[in-house]
């Protein structure tokens, strides 16, 4: 009994090899945001020009934070709570804040994975269910809501989410989403069963598979007509946009959220490393690969979007051609896409009244290219529509959704690790409960909490969590992290730590970043972010079939109780930082007043006395 328990306690789990560790960190950093947030930002912020603020933010904000987290975790060899407790007991709140944020982010992130699973399950049909409208009840036509919007929109909003018109109408639990959510949590659980032993094996697949699929998609998309237009459109830089401060703010926030810092997951992963490991190189590798993946993904996405825009443009013109052919009774295919413009001008000269009466649509490729989408709209509506138009749609749909699932799953590893390890650190759970059961209990609690997102109004709640939990608290936590290490632990001690681990001290660049540049950038980003959010009453787009301008989404303001919940979600994680600091301060002063001195739970005075006696007894 004794021997095995010792080895469990002293031998910390560790990675089988360096590759597993790197793949896990890369998988954690590379997530859904790389696919559906970065290309959107590139598109709206002037294409290639956006890369400049993005790379500047990476070098001065992203990499220093990443390096800091990996270094501190590797040196102190504990989870987020233990690490901050070691630096100073008053800073333990940072770890608790990380844990709460990780939990809150984990529950909505896995809901997105549940949606991905739902689409994946539906990709095995021919024809794909989002390609056509269902017939209405009395078989006279197609479902009205579907006809007004598009089949892909209908499938997403009605058949998947069954969304209510606003966030106040909760609707009921959608049973199909509940079972998809249960499957998503079961998959997360099975990967987490053995801790990093099982995660380390899972990441060989979940981290590398998305790259394979992105490459396949890129090659396929480049062979489709119109993809080059999409790429040209993406990369044509609009330098004027750099004068807009919003661009710099979005670049800084994007790099920050993309690297998944301040979750506590990276600290946990690096704590399983060997002590002497070059964490500087790891940090640079992870940061650079994350940004490179964003860029690579946006190339694939824009090739597909270019194809989709060209298709839309061509169908628009084909519709016009059909109207003209039918009205003027020309023989078929007299007017083609090539000579459409010539015919149009000719008809405009000869019979302008007839032409006007037809109400032809104005087709412009630029309008189609300008249709931007990010987030779930990109994945579940735009890309699914594009996939229908590619030959062999089922294969592409399956590949795409498996890729999304792998991306999300590898990010979930870091998020859940950010919850599990602090629980271990805090020793909340008695030892006799095996770790598998603890993981199961956490997954179960998370699943039950996430049932909110399976209600009719679930999507609106996901947007609330996504917009507010996954943003402001992380900025605050990261700011405290960096100041705690730079000033709390001290730059001198930290440089010694790094010297101990890597064999060389950090260069002046890193020191300058940690002490001045990164905290300043974080502070500026935080203040600007809050200022911009506070300028307008937060509102959200809602899907309401009874809206006059349907299928446009209706912008509604968040009601007061939701607004209160938003404030609560932003404040709750962060409140632990001052609360714990105050608590420790009060406890310390109470302890100082009592004469016993500090109690070290690991130093039992009686034991020391005994061993001294034994030493004197044994030869």
């Amino acid at each position: 009994m004794g021997k095995t328990k010792d080895s469990e306690v002293e031998e910390r789990a560790k990675w089988d090899n360096k590759l597993q560790y790197l793949l896990t960190c890369i998988g954690f950093a590379v997530g859904l945001g790389n696919i559906w947030r970065f290309p959107y930002l590139c598109q709206i912020y002037g294409g290639g020009a956006f890369l400049i603020p993005y790379l500047i933010a990476l070098v001065f904000e992203g990499l220093p934070l990443l390096y800091l987290e990996l270094a501190i975790g590797q040196r102190l060899r504990m989870g987020s709570i233990g690490v901050w407790n070691s630096i100073s007991p008053m800073l333990g709140g940072i770890g608790i804040a990380s844990m709460i944020v990780s939990f809150l982010v984990g529950i909505f992130y896995n809901t997105i994975l549940a949606w991905v699973l739902w689409y994946f399950f539906h990709s095995f049909q021919n024809p794909l269910p989002w390609s056509q409208c269902p017939v209405n009840a009395n078989l006279t036509g197609y479902n009205e809501e579907c006809v007004k919007s598009t089949p892909a929109n209908y499938f997403w909003y009605r058949e998947t989410l069954n969304i209510t018109p606003d966030i106040e109408t909760s609707g009921s639990l959608q049973w199909w989403l509940v079972i998809c959510l249960a499957s998503a949590w079961c998959v997360v659980y099975i990967c987490f069963i053995r801790g990093i032993k099982s995660i380390g094996k899972a990441v060989y697949v979940t981290t590398t598979f998305p790259y394979l699929v992105l490459t396949i998609f890129l090659i396929r998309a480049l062979t489709l007509p119109g993809s080059i237009d999409g790429l040209v459109y993406l990369f044509t830089p609009d330098w004027e946009i750099l004068k807009n401060p919003q661009v710099w703010l979005d670049a800084a926030t994007q790099i920050f959220f993309s690297l998944s810092v301040a979750f506590g997951g990276l600290i946990a992963f690096s704590s399983y490393n060997e002590e002497r490991n070059n964490c500087e190189r790891d940090a640079v590798v992870v940061g650079v690969i994350n940004s490179a993946t964003s860029l690579y993904a946006s190339i694939s996405i824009f090739a597909i979007m270019g194809f989709k825009a060209t298709n839309g443009f061509n169908s628009c013109r084909n519709e016009n051609i059909m109207s003209l052919t039918n009205h003027f009774e020309f023989s078929e295919q007299n007017i083609t896409l090539e000579n459409y413009n010539d015919w149009f001008e000719y008809l405009n000269r000869t019979s302008p009244d007839d032409l006007a009466s037809l109400n032809l649509k104005h087709c412009d490729l630029q309008t189609f290219l300008d249709q931007s989408a990010s987030g779930t709209g990109l994945a579940f509506i735009v890309i699914t529509e594009a996939v229908i138009e590619m030959p062999g749609s089922q294969i592409w749909a399956i590949l795409f959704f498996v890729m999304l699932f792998s991306l999300g799953l590898s990010s979930m590893f870091g998020t859940i690790e950010g919850v599990l390890m602090p629980i271990n650190d805090l020793k909340l759970v008695p030892k006799w409960i095996p770790s598998e059961v603890v993981t199961a209990i956490i997954c179960l609690i998370a699943f039950l909490t996430a049932l909110i997102f399976t209600l009719g109004s679930g999507n609106y709640w996901v947007e609330v969590f996504n917009g507010y939990v996954g943003s402001v608290p992380l900025l605050i936590i990261a700011f405290f992290e960096i100041t705690a290490v730079a000033y709390g632990r001290g730059m001198k001690t930290f440089s010694e730590d790094i010297y101990f681990m890597t064999g060389k001290r950090p260069s002046i660049f890193w020191k300058a970043c940690w002490m001045v540049i990164s905290p300043l950038m974080l502070l500026v980003v935080f203040v600007a972010y809050v200022a911009i959010q506070a300028q307008t009453h937060p509102s959200y787009p809602s899907w309401d079939p009874d809206y006059e301008l349907f299928p446009q989404t209706k912008m509604l303001k968040y009601p007061d109780w939701v607004f209160a919940i938003i404030i609560l979600l932003c404040v709750l994680p962060v409140i632990s930082i001052p609360v714990v600091a105050l608590y420790k301060l009060i406890c310390c002063s109470i302890k100082k007043s009592s004469a016993r001195g500090e109690l070290n739970p690991y130093c039992n005075d009686s034991f020391e006395v005994e061993t001294r006696e034994q030493k004197s007894q044994t030869p």
Binding site: M1, K3, Y602
Partner: protein, 218 residues
Amino acid sequence: MEDVVPLLLLLLCVSSAAAQLCAPDASNGYKVRLSLLTALGDEAYVWNDSEMFLFRAAMAFAMRTADGQNYNVSNVLVCDETPRVSFWFVVTSPLNSSLLVERRQVEEAVRKSRNRINSAFLLTDNTLEFLGIPPTLVAPTPPSSPPWLIVFGVVMGAVGAGIVLVLGTSVMQSRREKKKAQTGFEEGEEESRAEGNGAASDSVYNLSFSDDDRLTQM
């Protein structure tokens, strides 16, 4: 010569009567539009009089099936053909060739035999259009079990089996280790005592001290 003139007059009357019966926007007529190139591409046939004859015959067949009366090809009158390949047609009653069949009856007949008419021309509802007669939509057959549930069942079955397998092996492994550890209990105690003495004095908590209670028990 004198016999020809009344014949000619008769022909003129008949044709003008026929022309009056079938005209664009006739009250009892329908416009038909064919899109041969769209439907068949390279294999499209040329629209000529024979094809028109086939259409009239198909319409007569449809009317016979719906009505039961003996409609003939001559009862289907066609006019206003265009290069688009669109034309108007009307149907006259077999009993009285100057009486047109009601619109509704024609519509019913077309609806009933729509499939047959389509296949005669290798076309579909979208490419052989009867303007004013919308195609009836196929009633969707509800599948016996939604296909997505099958995929879900497969995936969840695999995941569930995996969980049970992994948990089972870890339970068996811990039982095996317990048995091994019980035999090696005494050696373990000596080692842990020695390790317990070495106290590292850095700021990191030395976890070996948590074996406190066991050592003091002796």
